[in-house]
Symmetry: C2
Subunit: 313 residues, 2 copies
């Protein structure tokens, strides 16, 4: 069985907690390494198994991710848990392979304009980085899977509309370059469920297996989009505890789709997550205590679970 | 063409603003009649056409609805707008027919337990009230359509699980009793999109035409459930500006599905609403100013519309 099929079995839903990476991308203060370990441990105890924990970048550029190696280690000590981390340049990829990280995430922009503005490199160069990561994986026999995430896949805050055919072309190029799995990201929360369903169905055909849908709740469509992705065959979804992680292009907007609400959605749709929702909601106290100035979202945490009936499908 | 087909054409989505009724059900303070008129006028100017404006009840019991007649009149002066109001007992129905209201809403609980607790009458008696309203409509040749709304249709905070067959039986009994249209309400926000899709599809078959889905966003599933209802053939959905309208069974929980976000959802799915979303979001200022202590929700109002592209499908 391929590493991807082990990490993301086809017969169940896998939910990736990206709060420790995407959720900390824009914050002014962040939890200490110990607090992050506690955060991971609490979510792991609730049943979460996939954690994106940071980015391999110089600490001078993104000090909130300076402890990425310690967190990769922390995840490796949690039974059945898998770590993922971003690597946005050659140095980051090389650094990542020096660790026991389970998944290395490279990012490709759907549009040339965003690629240049965000990463100061072309999309072709971004795909070259995927190729380099895949080659390093193969040469070293490293266990890490290479994840190529396509940002702005549903519309770009700079270039505007994004043709789905172009996203699929890029996804194909990433697979061709050796990516084990491809993700599509609604980076700025432009998508509606119809668009998500269409692109997800096409990604299911293209990948022939697992692919990731990464959604932001900027315009309130997060859970509806996740539902559409599940209906279209997606089995790997990202979220963040309390919806942590704002949007640089929409000040004051909510962040990633709320992990707790995403779990509730999956369970009502008949996808067992293995996650204890009460314990998950209680885990919010760790990042909330560490970042009292941040806003945490989520309806389950606010209203509680239905108690009068079994809400699991 | 039937009155229902005129009110709710089959070839488009109709969105019912229930904020002036459901949204004011639990508030301690409410807008003055003039402020409510301004609220209606602003939403009408934005393109909203369906307004539930109160309940025909003694002012001593629900003082926030004491001006229901004035609001029915106010709506009748807004071009193309239609008013609806609740009538929960014989007196209310009789009073309603003394006005020019366009739609009289009777409520039936999906469970006997909730029916007794909420209305101190049995479900059979609630259906008798529908029958009385339908008879009065026919005898007087009154233009009003009779709407039978089934509360707790997706689960009951008292009785727990609700069998879909039972909801369909009640819906059929309401139609048999003369209801022009039936609604299904997720009164306490228990539903997920799968359940909404299933019951909506069954309601589409049963009604052979229009039916209403009334959702609360208590557990964050509101927009996802609306999307599922649309996919299953529902073309009439309720919402409230800013998601006004809490839940008596989940303190602190959000209320109805947010009208603005519902409009965005519909448009991204290719259902033209005729509603100007910027103007709609701006109309929030009226109830917000009148009820500064109430919390208003909604992602579109917070993040704004996507500006880089045309988000309408």
């Amino acid at each position: 069985m391929s590493q991807v099929a082990v990490a993301y079995p086809a017969d169940r839903v896998s939910l990736r907690e990206v709060g420790l990476r995407d959720g900390l991308q824009l914050v002014k203060n962040w939890p200490s390494t110990d607090e992050k370990r506690e955060w991971l441990a609490r979510e792991h105890a609730a049943g979460v198994r996939h954690f994106e924990v940071g980015s391999f970048l110089p600490a001078s550029r993104m000090p909130q991710f300076a402890d990425v190696r310690e967190l990769v280690d922390a995840v490796s000590r949690l039974e059945g848990a898998r770590s993922a981390a971003l690597a946005l340049n050659e140095r980051g990829v090389a650094d990542a392979f020096e660790t026991e990280v389970d998944e290395i995430v490279c990012v490709i922009s759907a549009t040339e304009e965003h690629s240049q503005a965000n990463m100061r490199r072309s999309r072709a160069e971004a795909i070259d980085l995927v190729r380099m990561a895949a080659r390093m994986r193969d040469e070293r026999g490293h266990k890490a899977i290479v994840n190529a995430g396509i940002a702005m896949a549903f519309g770009c805050s700079i270039a505007g509309e994004v043709d789905q055919a172009e996203v699929l072309r890029l996804a194909g190029a990433c697979i061709e370059a050796g990516a084990d799995i491809v993700g599509i990201a609604d980076t700025v929360g432009f998508a509606g469920p119809r668009q998500v369903a269409e692109l997800s169905a096409a990604m299911a055909r293209l990948s022939g297996g697992a692919f990731i849908v990464h959604l932001h709740d900027t315009r309130g469509m997060g859970i509806a989009n996740a539902s559409a992705a599940l209906d279209a065959g997606c089995r790997v979804l990202d979220g963040s505890l309390g919806g942590l992680g704002g949007c640089p292009f929409a000040p004051g907007a909510t962040g990633n789709v709320v992990f707790e609400d995403l779990v509730f959605l999956c369970e009502t749709k008949g996808f067992a997550t293995g996650i204890d929702l009460d314990a998950l909601a209680a885990a919010r106290s760790v990042p909330k205590h560490a970042m009292p100035e941040e806003k945490f979202y989520g309806a389950i945490a606010r209203a509680g679970l239905p108690r009068a009936l079994d809400w699991r499908a």
